[in-house]
Structure formats: structure tokens, C-alpha cells
């Protein structure tokens, strides 16, 4: 954690946010250093997606501030800000009327890159996510498997080389084998690109598999934050239930005495 005063790539300062009468965040604070991968874990409805949307200004806080590169999101041009924060969703959200190549090229085209640069970048990214450029670029999203679509989703989010990558339950819809494969792929990619990643999930195992820091979200505040090993040993009553499935799975494998 950064010391008080210093500000990381992304910072939340005492953020309150309600949807109608229902409070979602109640004084949420957080600092994320550049190049870190932070996994935010919480139950459904804990406000995980809200945090991502506050970062790319799809939402603005009721009070408090969200700072991106030390600048309040309210002061950013929202379109510019969003083009600097790649977004990966569980549903992927590939545009069905565009080819894979065109989907990946979306943000570079918004930024006005020239054709040859765009084509080169698309090829690079398909290579990066393990879909060789040849054959995939001109296909349509509905011709791909779930895992392939999610790789394209990651490629699309990284297309304009944004400093920030936001991931909302990115691998939640995949079968366990594919998910494990995607986890390996993600670590390999993150090794190369070194983005500031904020990933939200309800699956503690996924958080441990991917993140350098894990935060647990409960009742609209950050209950615990630390390295995966630290969080795994936490005795906090708000953390234990999230760890329970992991512990039970491990216990099942141990020989019964």
C-alpha cells in the first residue's frame, strides 16, 4: 500500500455511492500502484462492478473522489479516459456485425490510427492472445468458441495499449478447464504488457490465481487488502466465508483418517 499523500495509478478517496436509496459504497478508499494486478473479491451485489464503472466514469461518486493518474475522473474528458482503460466483460460484448479484426480495431480507429498501423496492431494482438492472425481476423464472433471470444475480448481491451485494464468477472462464463487455461494466458500476457489491472470476481481461487494484490469488499468498504498469501490466512469474519469453498475443496482431497 502506498503511504498517505502519495497517489497510485488509481485511487479512491472516501467514495460514497448509492443506487436510489440503496447505498453501494460507504466510504470506500483504495490505492492501486501502476503495474499491479488487484483482484477485488466480494459476494454478488457487493458493489464490485460499481467500482470498475467509477474508474472509467460510467458512474461518478456521490461524494469523495476517484483519481486516475492523480486527476479526478470528473475532470477527465470521459471519452478520452475510457479509451485509456480497456474493459473486459464476462459477456465479452463483441460486436456481432463486425469481424474479429474490426472488433479489435475499434479503439485504435476511434483514436484515428492509420490503416497500416491498425492492421499491424491487430496482428500483434491476435498473436499475443494466442489466436494466430491468419484465419481469425476476418471471422465473425459467432464462429468462435467461448474461450476464443474471451481472448478476443482481452485483445480488444488491450488494442490501443491503454495503461489500465478493467476486468469484470472476465472468465466467469467459461468451463473450468478453459478458465484455468485463460488464467495461464492472462499471467503470460500481463508479464509482457504490465498494465495496471483491476479485476473483480466472486471467486477467491481466481483472485489468487491472477492477482498481485487481493482486496475483499464487504458492506461497501474494503475489509481486507494484501498479498494473496496474507489474505488466505486472514481470520476476518468477512473474509472466511469467501475462503470456505477453497478450504472445503482442499479438505475433500485429503485422505480421511
Amino acid at each position: 500500500m502506498t503511504a498517505s499523500g502519495a497517489t497510485g495509478a488509481i485511487a479512491f478517496r472516501d467514495v460514497h455511492f448509492s443506487r436510489g436509496a440503496q447505498p453501494i459504497l460507504r466510504g470506500f478508499s483504495l490505492d492501486i500502484a501502476a503495474g499491479d494486478t488487484l483482484a477485488l473479491v466480494g459476494r454478488s451485489g457487493a458493489g464490485k462492478s460499481t467500482i470498475l464503472r467509477l474508474i472509467n466514469r460510467l458512474l461518478v461518486p456521490d461524494s469523495g473522489a476517484v483519481l486516475i493518474e492523480a486527476r479526478d475522473t470528473r475532470e477527465w474528458n470521459p471519452f478520452e479516459l475510457r479509451r485509456r482503460a480497456g474493459y473486459v466483460m464476462q459477456e465479452v460484448g463483441l460486436f456481432p456485425h463486425l469481424t474479429i479484426g474490426e472488433n479489435i480495431a475499434t479503439v485504435p480507429r476511434l483514436l484515428g490510427w492509420d490503416d497500416s498501423r491498425v492492421q499491424q496492431r491487430v496482428a500483434e494482438l491476435l498473436e499475443l492472445v494466442g489466436l494466430s492472425a491468419h484465419g481469425y481476423s476476418s471471422r465473425r464472433p459467432d464462429q468462435l468458441s467461448g474461450g476464443q471470444r474471451q481472448r478476443v475480448g482481452v485483445a480488444r481491451a488491450l488494442a490501443a495499449d491503454p495503461p489500465i485494464l478493467l476486468m469484470d468477472e472476465p472468465f466467469g462464463a467459461l468451463d473450468p478447464v478453459t478458465r484455468a487455461e485463460m488464467h495461464r494466458e492472462f499471467r503470460r500476457i500481463q508479464e509482457r504488457v504490465r498494465k495496471t489491472v483491476v479485476l473483480v470476481t466472486h471467486d477467491m481461487a481466481e483472485a489468487f490465481a491472477l492477482a498481485t494484490e487481493v482486496g475483499v469488499l464487504s458492506e461497501g468498504v474494503l475489509a481486507v487488502i494484501g498479498e494473496p498469501a496474507t489474505v488466505a490466512r486472514s481470520t476476518d469474519a468477512r473474509v472466511r466465508p469467501l475462503l470456505a469453498p477453497l478450504i472445503e475443496a482442499t479438505a475433500m482431497l485429503e485422505p480421511r483418517s
Binding site: N56, L58, P78, F79, E80, L81, R82, R83, A85, Y87, M89, E91, G93, L94, F95, P96, H97, T99, E102, T106, V107, L110, R156, L166
Partner: protein
């Protein structure tokens, strides 16, 4: 005459009508797209703002097209006979399907895609152009297809306001009771509807596969706009009128078309003015609106019809009083009613000539005592209307052997000829009266209002062209009931061309007046 033969002999006219039909549907659909898609987008984005527009489009859709033409005819800018008002009406009808499908198409887009686009930093405009419109396109094109196909059908009605198109043949065929002519218009409009539907389906497929850059899309939209503007301005310019052109109108049945031709040819031969024929207009209402708005300068009206249908006055039976009353009312509206043409198109109570001769009856009063052994046949309307059979029966004390049979007007003459009935209500100028040899019984108690035919013309035009008034007045008192029956018969029964029939009649008429003037001259010289 087969349809193919008809087309072969009317190729030039057919191509003109095809051109008009395509223009009507094409221009109106394009304008409806240009206006309807943004309205649909607004309605999808802001339902509260869009709802009233969609509601209005719904209401418009329920107005019968002929009524809509009637409402719009007197309006400035859009009104007036011709393509302009027709295109306007067609636009109104095309709007609803396009607005609806645009809204539905946009609303059915998966919200995840909208979120993905927004999160990638698309502005609302970019989101609309790159994500929403392309995804809604199949739905929008489906709406355009519906609008265009409805347009092809509705455009046939446009002939009623002189906009041309295949409706010309359909209306002409209906008034001539000639199904060949009806088919000559109906078949190509059906084929046109199917081809437009097919072409748009292909276009839709093409658009979906088009990996067009934004630039080509923008260029296509600009080109579309230019085409629309150019066509609209051509249409607007072409409907500008020239001062030396007299527009002659007529309603949409045989007698009126013949009379329209007689008026037109009389003006052409008696003056140096040019005549534009706006014949076959969709009924009394349309003709009256048109002559008041200056879209036509003259047409033939019937005194009883003017009295009841145009001025909404109670039925009166004195011909002279009725004529003077409506003449005054027309004058107040800037219109001149010329002296009657000489014939009356009233209800005709008909019996077989042989029966009339054998019983020696000429009038309805004389017929009443013997009617108790007759069977009667009437049209549905005549049987029901208070000023039809019920009043007639009361006036003359008519009683038939059994209650009158209701039958279709087209069958009623034949039923009398074939002795299925002995007494019918027909049309005084029908060509079939002579064809079948019927006798018309005189309405000696003047139960029916007078239906004297007379020319209604715009007073301002008559003042500007005194020779026009002379030419039209030369027809007064010159067309007898027998003449009119003969002319109707030539067109209805013998399928002669109304223009030819009119030309031959006018030629005969001048012969007749020559004879009369020669006789007058001889009389004069003898007296001397």
C-alpha cells in the same frame, strides 16, 4: 380485348404511368426514410419525446387515403392536385412502419453491446453510427420494405387527385366496368410491389456484407439526400402552372369522363387556350375541393348533387329553384354555374318498352295501378335510403306483387331484360336503357330532385378569358338525355375511347347547328 393487347396499344401511356408510379413511391419512401429513421432514433432514445410522434403516425395510418387527399387539397404549399399532394400523403403513410421498426430495432440491441461501446470511449454519435444503426439495420430495412410495398398500393389511389400512376387504369377500368383495363393497372402495380420488395431484400443483404468505411456510408447518405432533393424540386417545379392553360376536371365514371373530354375539346377548338385534362378525379368531394382551390378550372356538376352533397341543403324538387339557389351559392365562392347542358342524370324508373306499350303507360302515376302484378328490383342503396324507394312508394302509392328484390346495380338491367323483374330503378343516362329497349317512366309528381348537368367554372378564369366562357356556353342546352345515353353506351357497351366518342359527338353537334342555322337562314329568306 386482352390485357396484353391493351398494353401493346397503350405502350407510351403505360411507360408514363409506370414512371409516375415509381416516382411517387420512390420519392415518398426516400423522404420517409430521411425523416422516419431520426424520429425512430429519437423515440428509442427518449421514449417520452418520441411517443407523441409515434402516436401521431399511428393516427395518420388510420385515415383513409381518399379522405386524406380531401383534407390536404385546399392547403397551401402541399395541397393542390397532382404529384405533390400525393407524395405528401404517401410520406405520411410510409412514416409509421419506418419509425416503428427503427425504434424496435434499436431497442432490441443487447445492452451489453451498448455498454461495451460506451466503455471503449465511443461518443453517443459514434455509438449510434458504429454499433446501434448497423445492428438495427435489418429491422429498419424491413420497415422500409413494408412502407414501399404499402406505398405502391396507396399510390394507385393517387390517380384520384390527378397524380397519375397505375391507379389511372384501375379507376378508368372501374368507371368503364372493364376488367381488362383494371387488370392493366392492377397487375403491374402488384409486380412493382414484388420487385421493390425483392430489390430491398437484396439491398439489405448487400448492406449487411458491406464492410464499408464510414466515408462510403457518409457518401451514400449524401448521394441519397441529393437524389431526394433533386426529385422533389423537379416535382415542385413541374407542377407550376401556366396562365394560358385551362384545367378541365371530371369525376370518375364514364359519363363524367366523356363530358370532361367534350369540355376540353370544345375549349381546344373554340379558343387558343391549352387544355390540361384532369379527368377521373375521385368523386364529387375531390372535384369540388379542386375547383375551389384552383387546381381545376371547370368540370360538370349535377344540380341536385350540388344542392345536397356540396351545400348540404334539403332536397327540393323544383328544377329552376334548385338551379338558381346553387348558382348563387357557387357565385359566393368565386365560381360560375353556366346554363344547364340540357340533360338530367336522375334515377330512372324503368320497365320493358313492350310492357309500357301494351299497358299504355308513360308516367309513374299511370304505372301505380298496374304495379301490383309486378316484381321490382332495386340497388341496395336505393332500397334503403329514405329518399329512395320508401318515399317513392308513399308518393305514388306503389305496391308490388312481393317485396322488391335487392340486387347489384350491374345486374339490374339484365334482370329486367330477362324478365326476372318487371320494374327497376336505374340511371337516366345509362347506355343500357337503349341497348335493352327499356322505357323510362316519367316522375310526374316530381319526387326526385332535379339532377341537371351544368358546367361549374372559376369566375376569375372566365373573366380573364371571355372566349372561354363563350366556348363553354356554346354547349348549354345542346346535350340531350338521348345523346348522353348513346355516348355512355358507346364507351360502356362498345368499349370505345371516351376522347373519340366526344370528338364524334362534337362533330355531329356542329353539323346539327349548321343545319339549324341553314334552316334559320332559309326561314328568314322565306319570310322576306
Amino acid at each position: 380485348m386482352t390485357v396484353f393487347h391493351f398494353w401493346r396499344t397503350h405502350t407510351g401511356e403505360f411507360m408514363t404511368l409506370l414512371g409516375q408510379h415509381v416516382l411517387l413511391v420512390g420519392v415518398s419512401t426516400l423522404v420517409a426514410i430521411v425523416a422516419g429513421v431520426p424520429i425512430g432514433m429519437l423515440a428509442a432514445r427518449k421514449p417520452r419525446a418520441g411517443a407523441p410522434i409515434v402516436w401521431l403516425a399511428n393516427v395518420v395510418q388510420t385515415i383513409p387515403s381518399l379522405a386524406m387527399f380531401g383534407f390536404l387539397l385546399p392547403l397551401p404549399l402541399i395541397g393542390g392536385l397532382g404529384a405533390r399532394v400525393a407524395i405528401f400523403v404517401l410520406i405520411l403513410y410510409a412514416l409509421l412502419p419506418i419509425v416503428r421498426t427503427t425504434t424496435a430495432g434499436l431497442r432490441s440491441i443487447d445492452p451489453v453491446l451498448i455498454e461495451a461501446g460506451t466503455a471503449m470511449g465511443m461518443t453517443p454519435g459514434q455509438l449510434m453510427r458504429q454499433v446501434e444503426l448497423p445492428l438495427a439495420l435489418p429491422s429498419i430495412v424491413a420497415g422500409i420494405r413494408v412502407a414501399a410495398v404499402i406505398g405502391v398500393g396507396t399510390a394507385t389511389i393517387a390517380a384520384a387527385v390527378g397524380a397519375g400512376g397505375f391507379g389511372e387504369y384501375i379507376f378508368r377500368g372501374l368507371s368503364m366496368v372493364d376488367s381488362t383495363v383494371i387488370l392493366a393497372g392492377a397487375v403491374p402495380s402488384a409486380i412493382l410491389a414484388l420487385s421493390i420488395d425483392g430489390a430491398l431484400t437484396l439491398l439489405e443483404r448487400g448492406l449487411r456484407n458491406l464492410r464499408g468505411s464510414r466515408r462510403t456510408t457518409a457518401r451514400a447518405a449524401a448521394a441519397l439526400g441529393v437524389v431526394v432533393l433533386a426529385t422533389v424540386s423537379v416535382v415542385a417545379l413541374s407542377s407550376r402552372r401556366s396562365a394560358d392553360v385551362i384545367r378541365v376536371g371530371s369525376k370518375n365514371f364514364t359519363e363524367q369522363i366523356i363530358l370532361g373530354e367534350i369540355l376540353a375539346q370544345t375549349i381546344e377548338s373554340g379558343t387558343r387556350l391549352h387544355v390540361e385534362r384532369r379527368l377521373n378525379l375521385g368523386g364529387t368531394f375531390i372535384c369540388d375541393r379542386a375547383v375551389r382551390a384552383g387546381d381545376i378550372d371547370a368540370y360538370v356538376e349535377y344540380s341536385g348533387t350540388a344542392q345536397t352533397a356540396i351545400f348540404h341543403q334539403p332536397v327540393q324538387t323544383d328544377a329552376r329553384q334548385v338551379f338558381e339557389a346553387i348558382k348563387t351559392r357557387y357565385a359566393a365562392g368565386g365560381l360560375t354555374l353556366l346554363d344547364p347542358l340540357g340533360f338530367e342524370n336522375t334515377f330512372a324508373m324503368l320497365v320493358r318498352a313492350a310492357d309500357a306499350a301494351r299497358l299504355n303507360i308513360h308516367t309513374l302515376s299511370e304505372a301505380a295501378p298496374v304495379a301490383s302484378s309486378w316484381r321490382a328490383g332495386f340497388g341496395y342503396e336505393f332500397l334503403q335510403r329514405e329518399d329512395g324507394y320508401p318515399g317513392l312508394a308513399r308518393t305514388y302509392g306503389l305496391h308490388f306483387a312481393r317485396p322488391p328484390t335487392a340486387m347489384d346495380l350491374s345486374l339490374i338491367y339484365r334482370a329486367l331484360a330477362e324478365r326476372q323483374v318487371d320494374f327497376i330503378a336505374g340511371d337516366a343516362t345509362s347506355g343500357l336503357i337503349d341497348a335493352y329497349g327499356f322505357t323510362m317512366l316519367e316522375d310526374d309528381r316530381h319526387y326526385f330532385p332535379p339532377y341537371d348537368a351544368a358546367v361549374v367554372a372559376r369566375s376569375a378564369v372566365l373573366l380573364a378569358h371571355p372566349e372561354l366562357k363563350d366556348a363553354l356556353a356554346s354547349l348549354s342546352g345542346r346535350i340531350t338525355v338521348a345523346d348522353m345515353r348513346r355516348l355512355n353506351r358507346a364507351v360502356d357497351a362498345d368499349h370505345a375511347d371516351p376522347a373519340t366518342v366526344a370528338r364524334e359527338f362534337l362533330a355531329a353537334l356542329s353539323q346539327r347547328s349548321l343545319k339549324i342555322s341553314r334552316r334559320d337562314a332559309e326561314d328568314l329568306s322565306r319570310r322576306r
